[in-house]
């Protein structure tokens, strides 16, 4: 930890803050985030520091619960993307040949779609829901992971310790899992952290377009989306959740930058 710079420490503190808020959302939030009250619509009665939205729900409580849902969606989406990306990238880079060619063309195809539009198409096919949002973000994100991991695996394939393992009769599975994968781990951690930032933005964009989770569930993107119709009267409804998204993304981006420098200084110039 001592190697972290000031911004790095700031990012770690920010991340811990978000995680704690998400974990203890039920305890911190002053009200039930889905409790509506026609009396409170677009008003700020005492006990509601950020006021109430168009259904009379407490904005602060929704922001707090939104942290949980947003982080959950981002985490699971990136986790799926990471598993697929690792499997594809490691085998493509390690085995090479026609297998590499085939997998990389598939990666090219997925990277050829503008990401949000691909996510839109996937959401349309799968129908609305939490799982759809997670899958749409994962399907859009795995290709980039695969390409970066493949590059690393390709380099490691001809490393001396890998050749030594081969000479000792290690199987391909064993070489990949015990020699190639551990050496890709720093890279994987950085990709995952940066990926959280894009996943949060993607979730927000999908919610903004009405393709996110059920609008009654509190997500930051969904709140911006419903709030924008009341921009003239109460701009806070969309600005507050928008700022939360911005802060969360800054935190993950800064953390990713920092981890890249700390874990993998040799590679810095590559990206």
């Amino acid at each position: 930890m001592s190697r972290l710079t000031f911004t790095g420490k700031l990012a770690v503190v920010g991340l811990l803050f978000f995680i704690l808020v998400a974990l203890f959302a039920g305890v911190i939030a002053p009200h039930d985030p889905t409790e509506t009250d026609p009396e409170r619509i677009l008003k700020a009665p005492p006990g509601f520091p950020l006021g109430c939205d168009q259904s009379g729900q407490c904005v602060l409580s929704r922001l707090i619960h939104g942290a949980r849902l947003t982080l959950e969606i981002g985490f699971f989406a990136r986790f799926i993307a990471l598993l697929v990306g690792l499997a594809v990238g490691l085998t493509a880079g390690y085995f090479g040949g026609w297998w590499d060619w085939l997998l990389m063309r598939i990666v090219d195809i997925f990277l050829a779609f503008p990401s949000l539009l691909l996510a839109i198409a996937i959401s349309m096919v799968l129908g609305q829901g939490l799982l759809t949002v997670i899958l749409a973000i994962a399907i859009v994100g795995w290709a980039e992971t695969a390409r970066i991991v493949r590059g690393a695996a390709l380099e490691l394939r001809s490393a001396e310790f890998v050749e030594a393992a081969h000479a000792m009769g290690a199987s391909h599975t064993r070489v990949i899992l015990t020699h190639i994968l551990p050496n890709c781990m720093p890279l994987v951690v950085v990709i995952f952290t940066m990926g959280m930032a894009t996943a949060i933005l993607a979730e927000a964009s999908l919610s903004f377009l009405g393709l996110g989770v059920d609008p009654s569930l509190p997500t930051w993107g969904g709140m911006v989306s419903t709030g924008k119709d009341y921009l003239l009267h109460s701009p806070g409804l969309s600005i507050y959740p928008g700022l939360c998204i911005g802060f969360a993304v800054v935190v993950f981006n800064l953390l990713g930058d920092e981890l890249r420098d700390v874990l993998d200084p040799g590679r810095r110039s590559q990206w």
Binding site: R105, I106, D108, I109, A112, F113, P114, S115, L116, L117, L118, I120, A121, I122, M124, V125, G127, A197, L201, A204, S205, F208, L209, G210, L211, G221, V224, K228, L231, L232, P235, S238, I239, G242, L243, I245, G246, V249, V250, N253, L254, S269
Partner: protein
């Protein structure tokens, strides 16, 4: 260069086929039977079957895929499920708005990225450099709908410098300015980071020291030696911009009321007009692939070393 061009162009063929395959699968999987939709709610099963036959829906899958490709080659991207309008006609009508918006956004992106990047590299570690870094980190992190809503609130609602909807703007370019800033700032922030780091790298090279030793002014070194070498990352980012503009136009055009491809997509999402969405996604992917091809060719033309490496088989 010709050999490289041919090789690179041939490389896009499998990608384009893959894009077509994915969008065909999407079309195949989307809910609802297109023949039933076209026949209307009170059609008899016989007439639905007849329409399905006419549309070729009774043929085996691989034949349908071939038919699909042939149709697309004839610029037939399908028809709207709501009003039966050809998707291609709508796209041709809406795309110019999005194109204009993207060009303006790219202009803003390059200008702001160059200014912030150059200042950051020349005055490294100074207060103004930190300010530029804050600008670029927040520019990358703040979602474009937030930037858009804030700009709209401040400049259109509070200050009334701009109309709330670009539809009602007397000057078409003026109405595009706020949305273009929204899109451009994000990629400008990205560009600033890349220009800063590549300039810093270039400025430490031996030939820059030589140029300085010759007594050339900082400005001349910057424009004649350093920036030319920073051109490559700029071109890369411009290629990536196309994707982010196509993505962003969906959100920005909705916020600012521009009748372009993005808002068209948004309206089709709200109406659950699946064939239109599929057509727009396909169109955008093809535009993106074409632009990337052009960017790569430009890249190789500027830097022959890259071209030779790829031709030698080190792809």
């Amino acid at each position: 260069m010709l050999e490289y061009t041919l090789k690179r162009a041939a490389g896009t063929i499998p990608v384009i086929l893959g894009i077509l395959a994915i969008s065909f699968v999407v079309l195949y999987l989307i809910p609802g039977n297109p023949a039933e939709t076209l026949a209307g709610p009170r059609a008899s099963p016989e007439s639905i079957a007849r329409i399905a036959r006419e549309m070729g829906l009774d043929q085996p899958l691989h034949l349908r895929f071939i038919n699909y490709i042939v149709k697309i080659l004839h610029r037939d991207l399908g028809r709207s499920a709501i009003n039966d309008r050809p998707v291609y006609t709508s796209i041709r009508e809406k795309f110019p708005y999005t194109l204009k918006l993207s060009i303006l956004a790219m202009f803003i992106s390059i200008i702001s990225g160059l200014i912030a990047g150059i200042i950051g590299a020349l005055r490294r570690g100074s207060f103004i450099d930190r300010l530029c870094t804050v600008f670029s980190v927040s520019g990358i992190s703040v979602p474009i709908f937030l930037t858009g809503l804030i700009l709209l609130y401040v400049f259109a609602v509070k200050l009334r410098w701009f109309p709330i909807s670009a539809d009602h703007c007397p000057n078409p370019w003026l109405g595009l300015l706020l949305p273009a800033i929204t899109l451009g700032i994000r990629s400008g922030a990205f560009l600033a980071r890349i220009i800063r780091s590549s300039l810093i790298e270039v400025l430490n090279q031996d030939y820059i020291r030589t140029a300085r030793a010759k007594g050339l002014s900082s400005w001349r070194i910057l424009t004649h030696h350093a920036l030319l070498n920073a051109l490559i990352p700029i071109i890369t980012v411009i290629g990536l911009d196309i994707s982010s503009f196509l993505n962003g136009s969906v959100i920005v055009e909705t916020i600012f009321g521009i009748p372009g491809l993005g808002r068209f997509t948004m309206e089709s999402i709200l109406k659950r007009d699946y064939p239109v969405i599929q057509g727009v996604v396909l169109f955008s992917a093809l535009v993106f692939v074409t632009i990337n091809l052009l960017v790569d060719l430009l890249y190789a033309w500027i830097n022959p070393r890259i071209r030779d490496e790829i031709l030698a088989g080190k792809s």
